[in-house]
Subunit: 297 residues, 2 copies
């Protein structure tokens, strides 16, 4: 643990996992954008063999882009995004940022992601100077029981599909089981960046943004006997919203609880909560996805 | 009930309330925008004596604006908005819509609300051709128990502050109590438009959008002994997101359950679910607000 370059206290569950020195995160490459002109940036994709760009990547890169236009010390507390067209992983993605407003304590930004002169994605985000105020957090006993288990008790790879797919993502994921004897509709996982990240809080937020899109929409399939890998459904993200509540490190383990409260009209809504290992809620997630049932043949 | 001009089945709880013919909703005036030029609209505010424009009004008018630019039959299923500057109720608000994309089954739109050449609000929304698919809805036994009570059992005016404030809004609201013996952190209410609305589904969605901003942020104060009316806190909405799951009428009673899962850093997150009287979830709501504690003196 001592070898990890982190200024935050080490997470209780991090010790003994990954074994000593972790590599610098490969995720950093994705989060490093080329500056083309003021407020114009260019990013590359990782999985150039995929049919389309992973949504979490576009959202994370877009947040890097607008984050670099905000006064120092002002931290992102929310983002709202729409996936508008599928991205082509073989082409670079150009991010055009708009400095909507710099107020006394808040900044608002918007960015569009463009390929072939067409908008594939848009994101708005709000940044705030750190400020103290009202505090509460709803107790979630069910979730707390699973968090206590820690990443040690979680499956390293989950199912075969995931074991294959996870190699494509610069994020480590372990699936956790719901407490025995409960009819818990939520899906639980632990995740962290694939290596050490620099201390800039924006990088950790962008890493979480990337990871938050992993498996979120799949929670909509939990109440049904359906799998995307068997070609029974076609799924794609429609929107993505995130609220960041407090600082955290994305190269320490984070705990992700997600569920789908409703699906109707070929759209499923998914809701996620992301906790640090001490059980503090660090982020809340909402996403709606298109879920089309594929007929046989 | 027979006299109400509705093509939808009458809600079970609607009978006997309002007594016979209801007036045409005053909310309609707010939702009627003047067309200035293609994709440019102008709206007026209602409470010109307020310090700032009610957020639900700007969101509803913005949705009217973009809704009028979408191919017929394509229904709004989500919106994401940021409140950027306070609106001045004495001035008209100009809405500039952008036709982001018309796809095969989805349309995406964006609109900014402008006063004095400054953006006060931005909203993105997505519209979909009706389509069938996967269906589920999480059971919420607690909520169902309160819905069964119906608006008859709910308080007509709630507290004094609300009795005074409600006169400013073209929405009827009745506060419902949580089931006895439960430590339920949620706040419950019934609401409907102040009179009959035309059948256009967009009008009902806009009416719900307006009403969804009423009291939502106040749920953040529930765990605390604080009140805005006593000058102990200053609250303002930062963002607003809505997902519309199925058709509904906003001139029939709708049931609103809301709660605040977390407050920290002078920001509170609120979550809402809106049901029809039969217990079908018709919309989900998320909003973050700035909640500043005001010191004495």
């Amino acid at each position: 643990v001592a070898a990890r370059e982190t200024q935050a206290p080490a997470a209780p569950h991090a010790a003994g996992h990954g074994g000593g020195l972790r590599p610098v995160s490969g995720l950093l490459d994705l989060l490093t954008l080329e500056s083309i002109e003021e407020d114009i940036f260019r990013g590359e994709s990782r999985n150039v063999s995929s049919v389309r760009v992973f949504g979490g990547q576009v959202a994370a890169q877009a947040l890097v882009a607008v984050g670099s236009t905000v006064p120092a010390g002002r931290l992102v507390h929310s983002l709202h995004a729409y996936f508008i067209r599928p991205g082509d992983p073989r082409l670079p993605i150009v991010y055009r940022a708009d400095r909507t407003r710099d107020g006394r304590s808040f900044s608002t930004r918007r960015v569009v992601a463009v390929q072939r002169d067409e908008v594939i994605f848009s994101l708005s985000a709000s940044f705030q100077d750190p400020e103290k105020g009202l505090e509460h957090q709803s107790p979630s006993a069910l979730t707390r029981d699973v968090i206590i288990g820690g990443p040690e008790t979680a499956a390293r790879d989950g199912d075969e599909e995931w074991a294959r797919r996870r190699l494509s993502f610069p994020i480590e994921v372990r699936w956790a089981a719901a407490p025995r004897g409960t009819a818990d509709p939520r899906r639980y996982s632990w995740f962290r960046a694939d290596g050490t990240l620099p201390d800039d809080p924006l990088i950790h937020v962008c890493a979480l943004t990337y990871a938050s899109d992993l498996g979120l929409l799949a929670s909509a399939l939990a109440p049904h006997e359906l799998a995307e890998r068997r070609g029974e459904v076609m799924m794609s993200s429609l929107d993505h919203a995130l609220w960041f509540h407090r600082p955290f490190r994305a190269d320490d383990w984070l705990f992700y609880a997600n569920e789908s409260p409703i699906a109707i009209g070929a759209r499923a809504l998914s809701r996620g909560e992301i906790y640090d290992p001490a059980g503090h809620l660090v982020a809340s997630v909402m996403q709606e996805g298109l879920v089309r049932l594929m007929g046989p043949g």
